[in-house]
């Protein structure tokens, strides 16, 4: 997804002054890009909704500190990705990769008709996060490592492993 958000300075100024309508306007402007970002990283839609809400509360809390360096979306995105990563780290179960016998997905198997989106969803949340932040959002490994509290080489090897897995899943899908 390409996101291009044009938020007028006057709106940010009103939001900084605490104008509730301006805050709602900001929320409306960013709810989908924030939700999409964290939903791509997290497996459960409910988690993504929670992170959306948390993100926006932090945005409101800190909007006065936003000085307009860089784009507003870049600033909000960072808050959102940090929160999603925190959620992943909180729960080690999330590190596991999705298996064939995953409940709730009867009859789904690696193979026929597995497209990239489905394959991506089968990665662990850590892998999803690294792939999404690096390949789609354009974060550097340094930024990812910093946000995850891991090393740069961890980020690099996670990305390589995730791509190897995607490639394998898609390849198996193609030959099924």
């Amino acid at each position: 997804m390409t996101v291009s958000l044009a938020v007028p300075d006057v709106l940010v100024a009103r939001a900084q002054a605490g104008d509730e309508a301006a805050l709602e306007a900001l929320f409306r402007a960013f709810e989908t890009p924030v939700y999409n970002l964290v939903r791509r990283m997290l497996r459960r839609p409910e988690d993504a909704e929670d992170v959306l809400q948390e993100t926006f509360l932090e945005v409101v809390r800190n909007i006065k500190q936003y000085r307009g360096e860089g784009h507003l979306w870049g600033w909000i995105r960072r808050i959102a990705s940090t929160k999603a990563l925190m959620r992943i780290r909180r729960d080690q179960v999330r590190q596991t990769e999705s298996l064939d016998e995953e409940p709730g997905k009867p009859g789904m198997h690696i193979g026929a008709n597995l497209d990239l989106e489905r394959a991506f969803e089968r990665l662990s949340e850590t892998s999803r996060a690294v792939v999404w932040l690096h390949d789609v959002e354009g974060y550097t490994h340094e930024e990812i490592a910093e946000q995850m509290g891991k090393s740069v080489s961890f980020s690099k090897s996670q990305l390589a492993r995730a791509h190897a897995r995607l490639r394998r899943m898609l390849d198996e899908g193609a030959h099924a």
Binding site: A6, A17, E20, R39, L52, D115, L166, R167, L170
Partner: protein, 192 residues
């Protein structure tokens, strides 16, 4: 023969590969194909449509904010809320359709989208509103990028594969949507 690992390919993509990998990729068709596959997967991920929140979370956010505020007001007595701004701004969200297997049908579809957007843009163009400095710069930048893309399309139209053309056309539709939204946002603001 030794081939590039996925990490080598990632490094090649980032322009920080080893001397060996950089040399190897120039001569090995298998690794070239792997690298191309990597680029394609990334392009496809980028083209996935936006997932939208299933429920409106604003009421929950708003009540949390109001609770915070009433606490603060009691503390500082400083908050002056203005509810004057009645309109919400447009979320300028651009989604590109996911890449499907039948590239040709998709290509026809994406060209139609492009034509439809072109029509809508023309209507915006004739509304005669003056652009602010920033909006004008955004619009000019997008128009430049579309022009550059059109140049590439003219060059590639005859020789390129459907998949490549599809990507270019999708990119064009994406830029046009961006342009639409840049104009729509401005128009709504002017109308406030």
């Amino acid at each position: 023969m030794m081939h590039c690992t996925m990490e080598d390919l990632g490094a090649l993509q980032a322009g920080e590969a080893s001397v060996w990998a950089r040399r190897h990729i120039t001569t090995c068709a298998a690794c070239q194909a792997e690298l191309e596959g990597l680029y394609q997967r990334i392009a496809q991920l980028k083209a996935l449509p936006a997932l939208r929140p299933p429920r409106d979370r604003w009421p929950a956010v708003k009540s949390a904010l109001r609770a915070q505020r009433s606490r603060r007001r009691r503390t500082w007595g400083a908050w002056t809320g203005s509810l004057a701004l009645a309109a919400t701004i447009a979320a300028v969200l651009l989604m590109q359709p996911g890449t499907q297997s039948t590239a040709h049908a998709e290509l026809t579809h994406v060209k139609q989208q492009s034509a439809t957007l072109e029509d809508s843009l023309q209507r915006y163009d004739t509304d005669g509103r003056v652009l602010s400095g920033h909006a004008a710069a955004v619009v000019a930048d997008l128009e430049d990028r579309i022009s550059i893309l059109d140049g590439t399309l003219v060059q590639r139209e005859q020789s390129a594969q459907d998949a490549e053309l599809l990507q270019l056309w999708q990119e064009r539709v994406g830029l046009m949507r961006e342009l639409m939204n840049a104009r729509a946002t401005r128009a709504r603001y002017v109308g406030l």
